[in-house]
Point group: C2
């Protein structure tokens, strides 16, 4: 199948190149008869327009990029990123965009990738995952003027568009649930202090406690890094302070905590209640079903793509902000059922 060109199709259907281009792009000004004729020869020849030529002429590539900074090996142990990738990929398909995936694992990666991404021609826009404080990538992207949407709240409060879930409220609700259940010494295992998710979920915890006039006991807050192991160690660090409930900033850390609780000879939720965050499908999850905050990752991804396309088509001003609400999924680990008996 030698690659056909517009020219070929034009000749075969006895019209001009422009006309074929019009029917391919669904322009209104084509008579029905001609349209059908052209469509026929396109179908019968299996013609598809050359993407590069089209991009060059139209300044649109119909491809968007997904940038994942700091993608060290461990990043894919967290179920969040596969899920995000899948969501973005699906949303792209939906809107007839292709997806370019850029995993940035190091400074060199960033240097290699940045030119490809920032310079127009390959990508119409990018969605970039928020990373840690002081990460210059997002600022560089802003400077490059490429249509941009940040997945997650960016650390710097720039005039960027972003889509995020309402982490503060989500954590607030989770902890409030624990308070309502009557727990007195509610601890939290946070995410990394440099990450916005970590910060926001901790803030929600703090706010829920403060609002009921509880003092915040610093010994009841331990930092984790979203890994199972960190949850395990955090829980061990918490144990001497005798928490009766723990809000973990991710399910995986909650499972780590659960393991620590079990090894210490205590039971979840009887001795220590546990609430997690994510509710993403995990390959295997031991112990009692986890009460957790459900993140709408799929809607989140769709929204990010929608916003980006909106920016591509209508410009970046004003910056768009969308905050998605979460849902507390009450299962057994928080002891709600226990208490209701």
């Amino acid at each position: 199948m030698p690659d056909l060109t517009l020219e070929d199709i034009a000749r075969l259907s006895g019209v001009s190149r422009s006309t074929v281009s019009r029917v391919v792009n669904e322009h209104p000004n084509v008579s029905e008869g001609v349209r059908e004729r052209v469509l026929d020869t396109i179908k019968s020849t299996g013609y598809h327009p050359n993407v590069a030529a089209r991009s060059l002429a139209s300044h649109r590539s119909w491809m968007i990029g997904l940038l994942l900074p700091h993608s060290v090996s461990s990043i894919f142990i967290d179920p969040y990123f596969p899920q995000l990738i899948q969501g973005i990929a699906q949303a792209c398909n939906q809107r007839d965009y292709s997806l370019g995936l850029f995993l940035i694992g190091s400074r060199e990666d960033e240097e290699k990738i940045f030119p490809r991404v920032s310079r127009r021609g390959m990508l119409d826009g990018v969605v970039v995952q928020t990373g840690h404080h002081g990460e210059p990538l997002i600022d560089r992207l802003i400077e490059s003027m490429i249509p941009l949407v940040v997945a997650g709240r960016p650390n710097s409060s720039e005039k960027v568009s972003y889509v995020d879930i309402d982490n503060v409220n989500a954590a607030y609700n989770a902890v409030s649930h624990l308070i309502r259940l009557g727990y007195k010494r509610i601890a939290t295992i946070t995410g990394p202090a440099e990450s916005t998710v970590g910060i926001d979920r901790k803030e929600g915890y703090r706010r829920a406690l403060a609002e009921r006039g509880r003092t915040i006991d610093p010994s009841l807050t331990v930092e984790g890094d979203f890994t199972e192991t960190s949850g395990y160690y955090a829980m061990n660090a918490l144990l001497p302070s005798h928490p009766d409930a723990v809000f973990a900033a991710s399910d995986i850390m909650a499972y780590g905590a659960m393991r620590a609780v079990r090894e210490a000879g205590h039971k979840v939720p009887d001795d220590i209640a546990l609430v997690g965050f994510d509710d993403l499908p995990l390959p295997n999850s031991p112990g009692p079903p986890l009460t957790t905050v459900r993140q709408p990752v799929m809607q989140f991804s769709t929204s990010a793509v929608e916003v980006l396309i909106d920016i591509i088509e209508n410009g970046a001003d004003p910056p768009r902000r969308v905050l998605m609400t979460t849902e507390l999924i009450v299962r057994e680990s928080c002891g709600a059922y226990l208490r209701h008996k």
Copy 2:
């Protein structure tokens, strides 16, 4: 930063467009002085070539596609795919290629994606994951003449290039290990019968047993689908036949089996030994450390990209085949340490 063109750089450095093109593409025929001058103005202006124009003129996009067929929601619960994506992405970076990711979840997806992928202009080549029997995608890709490498052994024994791990031998070695340990009733939980991985690993099991003159007891083979749940049910189905060891075609299924064993009141490895397959990092893994076959996913990915680039540069003939060896990682679940006491 208005997008600069080759022309601009040429004017600014007082040379012709071709010369700039030459230094950008590292052609040898440029004098040192000129090269430096041009490089300087490129650096100072922050110029980057337009990818679309370059592709159009050179018939090379420096982008390859990764196609994942049948990417239903559950596919990302398996740690294999994230790992594969990461490996491919890294290898692409290494070789200065970009990566286009195409998740194909349905027939409509395939129809949408196929033209974008098959028609030259966007992609220089694709690596496609093997799916199930009767999947026409790979054949369609072959027909389209796009440089292609299959990740995993394709079902149809076409003249395709592929990279695979030696599943038969891997399974053979795992089961042989169990035989050497003295187990008499060795069962297996296979992958889906339509998948080549499933078929090959089962064949290795069969071969190991046959070679020692063991009869294959059909009640000791149960099919799973690589999910934890399927491993759990498979083990329950196996229990009445009293296996003393089980080879599961994936770690996740092994964990499911472990759960079933535990619930039945038995212990791993004391009552039933367990060997898995994959050795990929899982967020949380209960029970005794799993003896398993380690898949070299990263090398595998690198190899797939290397082979694809080789094909892009040197043609698809003859078809390349690479088979990677695996390693049996002996931990506790197989009872090797127990038996050595």
